[in-house]
């Protein structure tokens, strides 16, 4: 119910998806022009560039994750209902995860073309790396967006809270993607780390979200 609601709202406005696509493409193109990497260099930096593009793009959308609820006072109606806060959080996380993933689907082929990528490792492992990394980003992002939604400078506050927490996942995601592109090391350890990170931080967010939702003073 919550997932369908968020996806329908996004489908009608297309606010987040348009902003994300624009930002992600901008980062990919600008990095490509700025570094003009050879094929070998591209393999080395591609993981990092891809993750940073997704990070910036998703943050722009996550900043608006709760704006519709705040604007119309809908959040108060949701707080008054018997529906558990975790359902509200997880619904929004899944909906945002699907939106960010759809941007990644558009981004991935363009990225391969711009960087002339020819992965040396098992490219199919990216099917584990990207969703796990995206979940880590979106799960934490939606939670911290809720934490900062009542703050005056929430656009600034979200990256300040989110980026330091996301660093372990960013390192794991970049290293795993780099290992896939270069084929020089095994990405499985990094993928496991990402999965563990997701479990721990999603559980913490679910447990703490009720407090965040109802903190008003």
């Amino acid at each position: 119910m919550q997932i369908g609601k968020d996806l329908r709202l996004e489908w009608r406005s297309k606010d987040a998806i348009n902003a994300m696509l624009f930002l992600a493409l901008l980062v990919v193109v600008l990095f490509s022009l700025a570094f003009d990497p050879t094929r070998a260099e591209a393999r080395q930096i591609a993981g990092g560039v891809l993750c940073v593009a997704i990070l910036f793009a998703a943050t722009s959308a996550l900043n608006q994750a709760w704006s519709r609820e705040l604007r119309g006072g809908v959040l108060d109606a949701q707080r008054m209902s018997p529906s558990p806060p975790s359902a509200l959080l997880l619904g929004k996380v899944v909906a945002n995860f699907l939106v960010v993933s759809s941007v990644e689907l558009v981004l991935a082929p363009l990225f391969t073309i711009f960087y002339n990528l020819d992965p040396k490792g098992n490219a199919w492992l990216l099917l584990a790396v990207l969703p796990l990394g995206t979940w880590a980003l979106v799960g934490n992002g939606v939670f911290f967006a809720a934490l900062s939604m009542r703050a005056r400078s929430r656009e600034l506050l979200l990256p300040l809270l989110l980026f330091p927490i996301f660093i372990p996942a960013l390192l794991a995601m970049t290293s795993a993607a780099g290992a896939v592109f270069t084929g020089e090391s095994d990405p499985v350890l990094w993928i496991r780390l990402l999965a563990g990170y997701d479990v721990i931080f999603t559980t913490a967010a679910v447990l703490l979200f009720g407090l965040v939702l109802n903190s008003e003073g």
Binding site: D76, N214, E216
Partner: protein, 224 residues
Amino acid sequence: MATETFLHKISPVTAAMQDISHIYGGVPVLRHVQAALLPGACYLMLGANGAGKSTLLRILAGLLQPSFGSVSTWGVAPADARERIGYMSHAPMLYDEFTGAENLRYFAALYAGRPCLSVAEAFAAVGLDSSLPQPVQAYSQGMRQRLSLARVLLPRPELLLLDEPFSNMDANSAAAMLSLLARERNQGRTIVLTTHQRALAEPIADQLLLLADGELQTALPGIA
């Protein structure tokens, strides 16, 4: 007549406010508020802008914790009885991008498993057409207010907290909403409403709650 009705409604308390004070940014908004709300009574809360009416309603709804004092609804904290409370704020509490029916279907789903009005019944109660195809952002202010009330009525709450329900409404819509509220009160629901249109709402009020400088006084309608 409203006074007589009120006096005959002596029964267990719906909500009790005990020595509530609330401070916003160092400024006291409410001071030592003490009152009890009885079932089946309509309370009209009056006061100038910034008198603390909305704050008191949010405290009664369990959305805001008072700085001092305590509130109980049916003997428990309002936060533990939220599904028995209907709250309508200044904001419409609706998704602008959805149609009226989509909004009510979504909110009904939040109360799944609880006895609720059907979406059609909620629309009928406020005199709106459930088949309106336009999103809420295209509604007039009066239609939004009525849809917002329909959302409040959906889970059949026993305590209705309505913050300025008649604002930006034309006379006919306001009169229709007033008669709806009178019906709800006669069915045993407790209603607390704030308005600046005292003359409009006073006929259905059993008691006036007068807020001035954060202090609450009670009075009977037509006297204060």
